[in-house]
């Protein structure tokens, strides 16, 4: 017999709505069975009932359901509550009790449908467009007056990623900080994961600090870029300055990378490098003018790798490409991060954490640093697919590049 389970809640006993609904079911020629009933104790408490409706034909069942819906009895599947939204009273201020996001895939129920929240990012609010029926994460500084923002927890669903069966070794090995695990194995798996990402046309993001240059690891990052494994690069003034210093003078912070020797008056080199790029107008222009002929940023320009340089209060210069307005830099990073499938973060505390904040939990993340605290901080975010390696970045990149380089597979 066609049947449906409906539920009804409210002051259904005192207002005689429950007996009315039951009488109506009978009057229309169907049958009911009360599965569950909970009566509120105090006057203001709601009561609740779950009723099974049985009808001889599907058409009769539909008719009965349509009629009792008018009195507040709804099929259990449809009774899932819509998300609650309130308007933002002013630009840059959320309504009270706004729902704060995590980096996990999140769904909201709007107009009787579950829709995925776009641009998954932690520590944001959820803005809903009721006309187009779309939802997206919005950071506090970008909410506009009148925006509909989700408040409370009703009608919000998070997809816990733990439930997924690991499909590849990366997922299986991740969420651990390895100081003593055999790194070779991990690095090989990272390389395999990057290859799989590129095979599916996925974008890889690299976030790197100037330590990369100081330790002589630039050449390996250059190789990785040349082999098409980097689509976007986030960094600060430091990485670019010392990379360009190396390109122009062979030194990083005044130390010859090929000779482990200090250059005399070497401290001037990075400042001259900054000056030269400022004169050229931008990093791209410096490359086009033939001023910079090698290095990480040279390769980025030549291979069309996008880069975002976010400034900080300790910058010298800075280089003209550096965005000094923090929120503007953050917003640009937020945009560029949209289609990234894999993120490799090396030798930077600030930029790694900033980027980690923007990435949804679905992005495979690798964090490499000599300092265990940085690595722990990142992998503790609850990102399911995060792997941490505590190691000097130079041997890491050297090995990674070997695994990624098609001609020198070990």
């Amino acid at each position: 017999m066609p049947q449906s389970i409906v539920q009804i809640s409210g002051h259904i006993i005192d207002s005689l709505i429950l007996p009315k609904v039951l009488d109506l079911i009978i009057k229309l020629g169907a049958e009911f069975e009360i599965l569950d009933i909970q009566v509120g104790h105090r006057r203001a408490d709601r009561s609740y009932a779950r009723i099974q409706v049985d009808a001889a034909t599907p058409e009769l069942l539909e008719r009965v359901l349509a009629k009792i819906k008018e009195h507040g009895a709804l099929p259990v599947e449809a009774e899932e509550e819509s998300v609650e939204v309130q308007p933002a009273a002013t630009d840059g201020i959320f309504p009270d009790h706004f729902y704060a996001t995590t980096n996990l895939p999140t769904w909201v129920r709007v107009k009787e449908r579950w829709i995925e929240v776009e641009g998954a990012e932690m520590d944001c609010g959820i803005r809903v467009d009721l006309k187009t029926v779309r939802a997206e994460c919005v950071p506090i500084h970008r909410v506009k007056q009148g925006d509909w923002v989700v408040v409370g927890h009703r009608g919000v669903k998070i997809l816990p990623m733990e439930r997924r069966v690991p499909r590849e070794a990366f997922e299986f090995m991740s969420s651990s900080v390895s100081t003593e695990q055999p790194k070779g194995l991990l690095i090989r798996e990272i390389a395999e994961s990057m290859k799989r990402t590129r095979a599916e046309n996925g974008r890889i993001l690299v976030v790197a600090g100037p330590g990369l240059v100081h330790t002589g690891a630039s050449r390996y990052l250059v190789e990785i870029i040349e082999n098409d494994y980097v689509q976007i690069l986030f960094a600060g003034n430091g990485l670019a300055v010392h990379d360009i210093e190396t390109a122009l003078y062979g030194t990083s912070l005044g130390v010859y990378l090929e000779k482990t020797m200090r250059a005399s008056e070497g401290h001037e080199h990075h400042l001259w490098a900054i000056n030269a790029v400022r004169k050229a107008g931008s990093i791209r222009q410096a490359v086009e003018q033939g001023l910079i002929r090698r290095g990480i940023f040279y390769s980025c320009v030549k291979k069309g790798v996008d880069f975002v340089l976010a400034g900080s209060i300790r910058d010298d210069g800075p280089l003209p490409d550096v965005i000094t307005d923090t929120l503007k830099a953050q917003d640009l990073m937020r945009d560029k991060v949209r289609d990234v499938k894999f993120a490799l973060m090396m030798a930077t505390t600030l930029h790694a954490i900033a980027t980690g904040n923007l990435l949804p939990a679905t992005v495979k993340t690798v964090c490499v640093d000599i300092n265990p605290a940085v690595v722990t901080k990142l992998t503790d975010r609850g990102t399911f697919q995060a792997m941490g390696l505590v190691t000097d970045v130079e041997p890491f990149l050297r090995e990674l590049s070997q695994y990624l380089n098609p001609t020198t597979r070990p």
Partner: protein, 263 residues
């Protein structure tokens, strides 16, 4: 008692969303204004109510019926979700007014129709709410959660009495007027169970919006022409202050529809 009213600068019969309305029977603007002014004065002077006003907006002829703006309660204002599109433009104006007065603005889910005090009235400690013609029964639940009080839902079964305030009027903690034919048997039973002294109104007087009255203490502001009711209520100790509101009845509203209780 504080009330909110809106002057009939743009009032007129511009559409037909209830059986009273007929574009072939337009309202007389000058007469409407006179009738509104009389009510306004009566409320202030005879019923000693404080009356605030909201600026009317062109293109919103029914904004004069402030009872439907929403529910103002304890520093919160729950904005109405109008069933008919033609009235939805009123909501932002009310929202702005209450927001400026420092109320927390709350909205119900879009698909939950709720037409404010027009469908929600308190008698004693119990709130009674009308549903079916305009407001949705589900809005009663949501409002009950917000105000943390009991709300009893009453089905309105007569299209001519499309808001609860057209067929039900609390007079005191244990007395109320009602028009029996506007409700179904369950609703009538609920009213009988909860209100010790329920006074039925005859059809003829219900059609003169006898139930759409503003009550302050023992004084009642009401449309004129309800003679039988007048006798009954005066012998019960009430003073009826009658005032003609015929131009507003053309839109299906009378004294109570023209005011919103704001504490």
């Amino acid at each position: 008692m504080r009330l909110l009213m809106c002057s009939p600068d743009y009032y007129g019969i511009e559409y037909e969303i209830n059986p009273w309305m007929n574009r072939g029977r337009p309202a007389d603007g000058r007469l409407a204004r006179e009738q509104w002014n009389r009510l306004h004065r009566l409320l202030r002077e005879e019923l000693a109510a404080e009356v605030e006003t909201i600026v009317p907006a062109p293109g919103l002829p029914d904004m004069v019926f402030t009872a439907n703006a929403g529910l103002a309660w304890n520093g919160k204002f729950i904005v109405s979700n109008f069933r008919h599109e033609v009235r939805r433009g009123e909501a932002p104006h009310y929202e702005a007014w209450f927001s400026e007065c420092g109320y927390d603005i709350l909205r119900l889910p879009e698909e939950c129709y709720f037409e404010g005090e027009g469908d929600l009235l308190k008698c004693g400690d119990t709130w009674f709410a009308g549903y079916h013609t305009r407001s949705d029964i589900r809005s009663h639940q949501k409002v009950a959660e917000i105000i943390e009080q009991e709300i009893l839902s009453l089905e309105l079964t007569n299209d001519w009495f499309y808001h609860l305030d057209t067929c039900f009027c609390p007079l005191s903690r244990d007395q109320a007027l009602f028009y029996p034919a506007a409700f179904d048997s369950y609703a009538r039973k609920v009213l009988e169970n909860h209100i010790p002294n329920l006074i039925p109104v005859l059809g003829q007087e219900a059609a003169r919006f006898a139930c759409n009255a503003v009550v302050v203490g023992s004084k009642i502001a009401i449309n004129d022409g309800c003679l039988k009711l007048r006798t009954k209520l005066e012998s019960a100790g009430f003073t009826l202050l009658e005032t003609p509101l015929g131009e507003f009845i053309k839109a299906g509203g009378s004294a109570k529809c023209l005011v919103l209780n704001i504490g």
